[in-house]
Structure formats: C-alpha cells, structure tokens
Amino acid sequence: MDGNKIVDLALEELRAAGADEAQVSLSLSDKSELNVDSGELSLFRTTRNAQLALVAYSGGRKGAVSLNKVDPASVREAARQALALAASAEPDPANAVAPPPPAGSPRSFSYGEAEPDRDAMYDRLKDFIAFAARERPKVKLEQCILDFTRFGSFFGNTKGVSFDAATSVYNLGSMFTAKDGPRTSSFNGSGASRRRLEGDFPEWGGIAELMRQSEEQLDTRAIEGKFVGDLVVTPHCLGDFVGGIDEVCLGDFAHISGTSPWKDALGAAVASPLLSLRSAPVSGEIAEGYFYTPDGFLAADCPILDKGILRNFTLSLYGSNKSGRPRCPSAGGAWTVDAGETPLAEVIGSVKRGLLLCRFSGGAPSSSGDLAGVAKNSYLIEDGTIAYPVSETMISANLCSLLKDISAVSRERIDFGSAVFPWVKMGGATISGK
C-alpha cells in the first residue's frame, strides 16, 4: 500500500469534486501487543489500521471526512461527502491550508525499528511480571500493556505540501494496586515509550518507585483541617498541570474564545524564572516525536516558557488566523521541562508543610485556571520530611498562580518518551482534609 499515492488520489478526487483547496492525511499503523491481566500474560495480538482524513475548502467553507478504507471508490465517495459537508458550512476566512516549505526542505522522515523483536518483548514482559511478584508481593499488576507500533504517516495539500514519515516505538503501560487482606491502595501506574527495548522495565517511567509507594499507601491517613501550603508536583503528575496550562492559556480554544489569561502576555513574565517549558518534537529527546504538524507545516522545537517568559502559544494555523496571534512552530506536546539545580531531597526538605503530589484526580480547570481535585497516591510533608500517605485530601489552587509561585525545580527528571519532567515545588495551594 503506497501511502503517497493514496494521498495524491484523494487530493485529485477533492479537486474533481470542486474543492478550492484541500488537505489529506493518512496514517497506516501496524501494532504487536502483549497484555497482562491480573499478573498473567493474557493476550498477544497484531492489529492493522488505516485512517484517512480528507479536508475540503470551497468558498471559505470547510468539510471534513474520516474513514478507514483506502480503495479508490471509497476515497471518491469520501471526497464527494467532504464537499457536500462544506456546502452546508458557514464560510470562515480563517480557513486555510499550509504554504509549501522552503525549497530544499526535507519531506521524508523516519525513526525506530522496522520490525518488533517479539521474542524480546515476551521475555522482557515475563521478567517484569517476575520482578513485581518478587520485589513487591503486595502489588497486583491489574493490567500491563507492551506494544510495538509502526506508523506510516503521509500528508499532502493542494499548495504542494507533501510529507511522509516511517516511525515506530515500543510502549509500556502498567497499572497496579497494592492489596493486603482487606486493605487496598489507590490505583497507580506509569509507563514510557522508547525507540528500542533498552533499559529495565521497572525503571521505564519510574514504575519501580511507584510500586514501592503503592505498598506504602496501603495505610493512609486523612489530613485534619485546611491549610495553605506547598505542592511538590512529581513528574507523573506534572503532565496534568502542563496539559491544563495548554488548554487554559495556550491553545486554539482559549484564544479563539478569548478566555486565555495570557492572551496579551507574549514576551512577558507569566511564571517563575525557574520554569522553562519547551515543545521539542524533533529534538530526539522525545521518543514519540513528530516531524510535521497536522495542518502541514514542518515542525520545529520551540520554547513556550523560557525562564518564565511566555515565548509561544500552541496555536494552529486556524487558531492563529482566527485570533491574530502567531502560529506555534510545533503542534504542541512533546513537552520537556528543563531540569533545575536542586536535588530532589532538598526540594522536599525545603517544604514546611505541604504535599508530595503524585497524582491529581480533578475536574478540568476553569477558563481562569482555577482547579480543584483530590490528591491521590500522595504524601503529607511536614518540616521537610515525608510524614505519611494521605487519603481524602483535596487541593484547590489557580494554575497560573501556582506557576508564578515555583520556588524549586529538581535536578532529577523522568523520561516518559512523550515528555520529560522534573519535580516542581509550587506554593499557595489550599489543602483540605476531613
């Protein structure tokens, strides 16, 4: 199956159906997957999929169709439907397709292995199950998934943009709880992706440490009362906060709706100078990186927050046209937060009273950045020492205020393959127990 030919065919059909401009993307995936349920290998399977997305523009109106068939008749029918949908849409001058990249720019990309090492996948997963049983007997592996997924990605538009990428990664995800008689810990879990099966699975995404904590979290205590204190947000939890900032302050919706608290802050300090957040899709630092954006631009690494200064939003071409603010050189994601200079032990040691926040179970933050939720798998810190694991403890804070009140970033980081994060100490959170 030649992906470039399918994309070219779809563009021809869209033009023939009456599109002024059009873009087509195709993703062909081939996955080999091993599953563990309740501590036992339960499934091996391979799945193949094709996802074809057609977007047509006609008179400034947009119509889009997605399908998983790529035969010529299906593609022709999808093109006809896309134009029919466009005909019933409202015209929007912000609709546009990407211009061609500079002459000589690369258009074909690749990383990862061509084929999975299935024997190694099986052996490594068996070793991981044995590790959990031997080292953490109270931990129950509820579910564990190891897969190797190979993608063939193709993109084209009517302005002459054409990209293709052949990529593959191994993904490991593990969810577990500790059980001891009637006592049960909260769900816990982590994982990572890698381009090769290197390193011990218990260290992928810091799984081994979370398993240790889960056994410890069989005995939790509720905090008495309510206080304003610090949060030491772990790498496992920081992704939720970064995602919240992206949604509330950086992305298309926040700017098109005009709700972003940072809409007029480009170039201004919006966070502590200790915080540098980057989108790094092509750096090689991110195993699951990407080379071009969904709307057809070559992707580039870019700072979002550079020592607390807002350098970029994460706007797409449409979001940029709609809001009048600059398009992001990347498509967002592929996050890295720069390591700090403080050892983790000193970060925790500097907390008078607060939480080591390991998982946040909360509602989506409001458009102002207010958030509230439950601290899961987390610990009370008192006088610089981890006191005990907590239960029924709620946190209320404002995301933007938390970023301004960062007082330490750890030297250590965890590489999840999709992001690389340190531990970050933030102040001013309201922490309430029973």
């Binding site: 009637p182 909260s186 179970s361 029924e392």
Partner: protein
C-alpha cells in the same frame, strides 16, 4: 416488601471484609424447610421464619442484624425475563439506594446505550449486582463468569473494530426514591445544590471525584449564590450510607465515557440524591 431487618442491614459490599468480622452467613430457604418452631420462648428463630416465608435470609451475627431476601420464585422469574429485580442498598437509616446496570430498558424506557447482545455474542441481561442489600453478582464477560461460577451478563464491550471486549458498564443507574426535589431542598438548613457535573474519576478504594460546573448554595431551604467551578469527592461506600433522600424523578445521560483501556460511551442515570460529601474549592 422488605423486612425491618433488611432495611437495617449494611451490605457486604459497603462493609468490605474486615478481618475482625465474620462474613454474613447466607441461608437458603430450603435449609430450614423442616423447621416447625419459629417462636422459641420470647425469641424468634430467624432461619425457621425465613423458611416459613420461603425466602433466603442473610445473618450478620457480628452486627446483630439479618435480612430476608427475595423469594426464590421471584428471582427465578426475574432471571427468566432477563430483567433486573429491585436492587436495594439500604443506608444506616433504612433509606434505600437502588443500583443496577441495565442492558437495554429500564422503568419502561429505552436506556441511552441499549445493548441486546454484547461483543462476545452473549445475550445482554440486566446485571444482578445487589439484591435486597446483598451483593449477589458482578458484571461479567464469559471468562469472568466462568471463573466465578456465575451467569454471564453480557457486559463484554469493545469500542473500535480492533479492540478486544472488556468487562464494563452499560447503563448504570441509581433508581428514584419517593421524595420531592423541592422538599429535599427546603429541608436543607445549609448545603449545596449541585446540578451539572464535568469529568469524574473513581478509584480502587471507592474514592471518587467529580467536577461541578453548575450549582448553588442552599441556605435555610432557599437557593443562594451560584457556585464557581468546584469539585466534590467522597468514598462511595461511605457516601451511600449518608443518603437521606432520593427524589421521585430520574434523569438519564449518555454523555459519559468509560475509560478502561478503550474509551466507550455509557449510559448513566439517577434522581437527585441528598447526602454528605466533601466539597472542594477555596
């Protein structure tokens, strides 16, 4: 009709299985079929009474309470019709919280996510989870039903064509009570009226949270100020024991997704519930 004892019984599910407690003893109605003396002096032989009534009895000797179950013919009829009987979880004061996972129809209405056959080809039936306050079964696929020696329920569901079916909810609801919403609010001296939720999560400890995007303070029975976004949380088994009223109406929604490995739409419903819960926010 329920016995007073049944209304007082806390369920196995809500209590967990504390090592200091003996599990409830379940007696089938046939086991005491030959008993003839129900009253012994000034005491009642519960087993004999249950046998005389043709109903199973659950005795929790550690707490000194007992519950009479649904008569066997009624259970058989419900099983044959593939429709759930009354699932009743009594709270501390005898108020009934009724829980079910329906296959396709409930209370004479089509459910939001109706299923007649699950993705393993099993006929979908209402899941018998808690009957008369007693945890009876679970949602099952073929494998878990076989392992636990129970009937399949048709809860194996897959989302995409490439997904494997997983055991998961279909249309799960708390069923209505008998109170009027206006009376429930009027009876609140100080509290909150939460009207619309956003995302939520549940945990293996039964601790849960939901974002609340629409709601009001209630002061002396009257609606007060509107709430800014907040979050509520609690431990489900504890929260259920604090229920003091259920409204006599019910709303279904299919806006929820089960996120167990694959995302899949689910139906969920219930009445207004008056209970005690943790409220977040500054």
């Amino acid at each position: 009709m329920r016995s007073c004892a049944a209304q007082r019984l806390r369920t196995c599910a809500s209590e967990g299985s504390s090592p200091t407690r003996r599990p409830p003893r379940i007696t089938g109605s046939n086991s005491a079929a030959t008993a003839t003396s129900v009253v012994i002096g000034d005491r009642i032989d519960i087993g004999a009474a249950a046998a005389a009534l043709g109903r199973p009895v659950v005795v929790d000797s550690a707490r000194g309470v007992a519950a009479l179950g649904v008569p066997a013919p009624a259970v058989a009829e419900a099983m044959a019709s593939l429709r759930a009987p009354d699932f009743s979880l009594p709270d501390l004061d005898g108020n009934l919280v009724t829980l079910a996972d329906f296959a396709h129809d409930a209370l004479g209405r089509r459910c939001p996510v109706p299923l007649w056959t699950d993705d393993e080809g099993t006929e979908a039936r209402d899941a018998y989870l808690i009957v008369d306050g007693v945890l009876c079964s679970f949602m099952h696929n073929k494998e878990t039903a076989e392992k636990l020696g129970q009937e399949t329920t048709g809860n194996a569901r897959a989302f995409a064509f490439s997904d494997e079916p997983l055991v998961r909810m279909r249309n799960t609801a708390i069923l209505p009570g008998k109170s009027k919403l206006e009376d429930m609010l009027a009876g609140l001296d100080e509290g909150y009226y939460f009207m619309k939720s956003s995302n939520g999560q549940a945990d293996s400890t039964s601790e849960f949270m939901f974002g609340v995007v629409q709601g009001y303070e209630v002061r002396k029975g009257k609606l007060g100020r509107a709430l800014k976004d907040t979050t509520i949380s609690g431990v489900a088994f504890d929260m259920l024991k604090t229920v003091s009223a259920l409204s006599d109406d019910m709303v279904w929604s299919c806006g929820g997704m089960c996120g167990k490995k694959q995302m899949i739409p689910v139906g969920m419903g219930g009445p207004a519930v008056r209970c005690r819960i943790n409220v977040g926010g500054r």
